[in-house]
Point group: C2
């Protein structure tokens, strides 16, 4: 089910970065892993925490997370049947990765978006928008258009 | 150019995880960021480090990384023209994220793949294959097929 992006992951230094992204970069996977780090959850509990996800999409993502060994799907034989999703040991080992993603997103995306909203709502105050460092060495010309790969 | 996955990133706790993945999860972006963390590079230097990437794909990914404020493209007005790619301050702020992805990938993907290769090559030795934790609570039945979202 998971679509490998690269045939081999020992291709070059840095490849482990892509290898990890290939496993957790699927739509909503990071968010599902984040919520399962907090708690064991039933399907509808996960769905309520992800208001924009469709049932089909969430089912697919959980299936891939399970086949990659991150998520354990437990079926309790009772009436009505109960199905729970939890993290495996391998899934739990992703905690530092998920936390790093979360910390960066909080500092650079969520706060920047909040700053932009605030500056739109109170335009007299100077807005704290996201500042992309724009250092350029002397003698160089910033060029916005035309990305011909000269080099 | 970047396709937003979610309209708002303050939707729920954990959303910053997805927000970050949406920015760096593009194919090859993690690997490009990793190499630019090491050095300022020209287009062909990046391409040589990513043997499986096409010129078109790399151009697209660099364009998105530039428009998201991670990468600075510097054109030197000389003959022949020289174009260099480097990380902005914002791009450099991703270092802990890229390192977390790399460390997990090294420990869990690259080493597991090496273990599998070794066990194929020397089948008499017991292979150190990737172990996905399979703990299940008592009274539960593991169910491989049929992912109806009961719950």
């Amino acid at each position: 089910m998971p679509r490998p992006r690269h045939e081999r992951f020992d291709c070059s230094p840095g490849c482990p970065v892509e290898a990890t992204l290939a496993l957790i970069g699927g739509k909503w996977k990071g968010l599902v892993l984040w919520h399962l780090l907090q708690d064991t959850l039933r399907f509808n509990e996960i769905r309520r925490r992800l208001p924009n996800v469709t049932q089909r999409m969430l089912t697919n993502q959980l299936r891939e997370l399970e086949s990659d060994g991150f998520v354990i799907r437990t079926v309790y034989t009772q009436v009505p049947p109960k199905v729970e999703y939890s993290l495996s040991t391998r899934g739990r080992s992703l905690e530092p990765v998920i936390l790093a993603l979360k910390e960066w997103g909080e500092a650079h995306v969520v706060q920047a978006a909040a700053g932009e909203r605030q500056s739109r709502e109170t335009p007299s105050l100077s807005g704290a928008t996201a500042a992309a460092g724009n250092e350029r060495p002397p003698g160089s010309v910033p060029k916005a258009a035309g990305h011909a790969p000269t080099g």
